[in-house]
């Protein structure tokens, strides 16, 4: 189908997650793309464009006709033939070409205007059946416009899996993707710690950031090398072959890890640690069970608030929690209360614009300031507790006072439920340690709760005073900074003294170069992306703390 020689192009970026993906690349277009009117100088060229687009449209319709003929019979397939005739209709084409000639405007606009006019003609008819034909003429016009614009307006229209290429993707946009079709993420913006990077790790697919791709890569075959950080369009055979081999090696390694299922998370010298998984939606539970995690160490509840235009009801929340808890069949599920703010904006919350949203009105601060909102979530969680083993943790804690206020509200919720005869059971109470303040008073906090979970992403951000969404700062963002490691040690010691177990749910927990150190500090639990559970287990089983270094 391509007349020109395929020219290989290579783009360099930074890896946000490893792995090799091979497939068609699709450039993400936001839905607001509209037909714009623009002045053109070469009328003949524009008319040629329209005629070419028309031929392409007729080919598409021919394929549709043939498919429909087989599936629903000739009579019902006829409509595609009618569409072809509409495209060929002299009046229709004349209208378009006259507009291009007389007004010197672009083909897309001429087609859109003609489509609207003809549709209007049908809509004005008495006969209802004819009025409905307005939809047909709009349909063929849109088909022409899409071909002229040379893109797909909606990524999810792809039948086959694809590599998603975008300038950047907001959390709400990635939420709407059919994730089973995405092979990899390639973005121009973003940093290794931004939302898409984290999502890619959760999905276990390669991700690149900082790739200055050309828009014409849309629809072309491509390879993403998540190890080297390269994005290759129309790769030459040799290069493609090498990368395919690399991909196969990785798959083989992963297969080996599967053999670790059912084995204990225990070091050679007998030290145990819980390996749990982090999830952000109900459907992620499948991955948790497949990868044999011991529980869910972080159930991010934001998805309930992000997918909607209004606050989720207690019932909606309850059903989501119940489903996850039930599916985990008695394995612990730690639900984190809503952590909205910063990079997870939602309009209906009516949050004011802030200079520093990362340090602003968010998470537990919203909950304590809007107790009704908080109680709804707490009620839903407590109601779900009877279906399995549930724990709660509260984000962004900075004081004992906050925890005391939380406990009062929890007490109220329990009293209400008891009064209403709604059953619930005991729910372990924990806090996220993700602010330097919380670290420094962890000895006092330990007396108030049952466990700590260290949110290393935000803790590192606040401690090193580095914005994790600014790629410029990546070179100085040292996740292994001694300040952080000392903090973790302190939190574990204080936690244990106060009778708490301590875990890590941030990304540092998945860093296998630190696992031995964490184990010797006495870390009780680590919670990682589901697909990292087994490699974490392998790492733990190969550690021998008793051998001196």
């Amino acid at each position: 189908m391509q007349r020109q020689e395929a020219v290989m192009k290579k783009y360099n970026g930074k890896s946000a997650f490893g792995g090799i993906a091979i497939g068609k690349s699709i450039v993400y277009r936001k839905k607001e793309d509209q037909v714009r009117r623009s002045h053109i100088t070469d009328v003949d060229a524009e008319i040629l464009r329209v005629n070419k687009a028309k031929e392409r449209a007729k080919e598409e319709l021919q394929k549709l006709y043939e498919k429909a003929f087989v599936e629903v019979g000739e009579e019902n397939a006829m409509i595609f033939e009618v569409h072809q005739m509409m495209l060929d209709d002299q009046d229709y084409m004349d209208s378009i070409t006259h507009m291009i000639k007389n007004e010197e405007i672009n083909a897309e606009f001429a087609v859109a205007a003609t489509g609207d006019n003809f549709a209007g003609m049908f809509q004005a008819m008495e006969d209802e059946y004819l009025r409905e034909r307005a939809a047909d003429v709009k349909d063929i016009s849109n088909r022409l416009i899409k071909i002229l614009q040379g893109n797909k307006d909606n990524v999810t229209e792809s039948d086959e899996p694809y590599i998603l290429v975008a300038d950047d993707l907001a959390p709400s946009e990635t939420l709407q993707l059919d994730k089973s079709k995405v092979l990899a993420f390639v973005t121009r913006k973003g940093s290794t710690n931004s939302h898409t990077a984290i999502l890619a790790r959760m999905m276990n697919i390669p991700a690149l950031i900082g790739v200055d791709y050309d828009e014409d890569c849309d629809g072309k075959s491509a390879i993403v090398d998540g190890y080297e950080g390269t994005f290759i369009i129309e790769p030459e055979k040799e290069i493609a072959d090498t990368l395919i081999k690399k991909q196969q090696n990785e798959l083989y390694k992963k297969k080996l890890q599967q053999e670790l299922k059912g084995k204990e998370n225990i070091t050679k010298d007998g030290k145990k640690i819980e390996i749990y998984a982090n999830i952000g939606s109900v459907s992620d539970v499948a991955g948790v069970l497949q990868n044999d995690a011991g529980g869910i160490g972080l159930f991010r509840s934001e998805f309930l608030y992000l997918e909607k235009n209004t606050f989720p009801t207690e019932e909606e929340q309850f059903l989501a929690y119940k489903t996850v808890v039930e599916n985990m069949a008695g394995k612990k599920v730690i639900i984190r209360t809503l952590d909205i703010g910063a990079d997870k904006q939602v309009d209906y919350f009516c949050l004011e614009k802030e200079e520093n949203p990362a340090m602003g009105y968010r998470a537990i601060r919203i909950c304590l300031n809007q107790p009704d909102l908080f109680k709804t979530q707490l009620r839903a969680i407590y109601r779900a507790s009877v279906y399995g083993k549930v724990a709660i943790m509260y984000p962004m804690i900075i004081s004992v006072d906050e925890v005391k206020k939380i406990k009062e509200i929890v007490k109220l919720v329990k009293e209400e439920l008891t009064l209403q005869g709604i059953p619930f059971t005991e729910v372990e109470q924990g806090v996220m340690i993700e602010t330097p303040a919380a670290v420094m008073i962890s000895d006092q906090l330990a007396k108030e709760v049952d466990f700590f979970s260290i949110g290393t992403n935000d803790l590192t951000q606040y401690t090193l005073a580095i914005d994790r969404q600014n790629p410029k700062l990546d070179p100085i963002y040292d996740a292994h900074h001694p300040a952080i490691l000392r903090m973790i040690q302190m939190v574990i010691e204080n936690g244990h003294k106060g009778g708490c177990w301590v875990g890590i749910c941030g990304e540092l927990g998945a860093d296998t170069t630190l696992t031995e150190e964490f184990l010797s500090m006495g870390l009780d639990e680590v919670s990682v992306s589901p697909n990292l559970v087994l490699s974490m287990r392998e790492t733990v089983r190969n550690i021998d703390l008793s051998s001196s270094k």
């Binding site: 209709d89 006969d127 004819l130 034909r133």
Partner: protein, 85 residues
């Protein structure tokens, strides 16, 4: 020039499918073929004008053929209309 008149029997009148077939058939002939309903006349090789006539059940239409193959066109189209509409 040849012509014939006909009263539409089909409950749906000239709708998308037969309009398409009619336009397709008319297109195979060299002659000019027009359809008239009341005051309005449409070129039967142009699907939008045929449809815009809004021919319904009970309407009377007149089909006119002018050109070198008008005899053949007349026979084929008359048969088509009587069988489908």
């Amino acid at each position: 020039m040849k012509e014939f008149s006909y009263v539409i029997k089909d409950a749906l009148g000239i709708h998308a499918r037969p309009a398409g077939l009619l336009v397709k058939k008319a297109g195979t002939f060299k002659s000019d073929i027009t359809i008239t309903k009341g005051e309005k006349t449409a070129d039967s090789k142009k699907i939008f004008t045929v449809m815009s006539l809004g021919v319904k059940q009970g309407d009377e239409i007149t089909i006119r053929f002018t050109g070198e193959d008008e005899e053949e066109a007349y026979t084929v189209i008359e048969t088509f209309i009587k069988e489908n509409l």
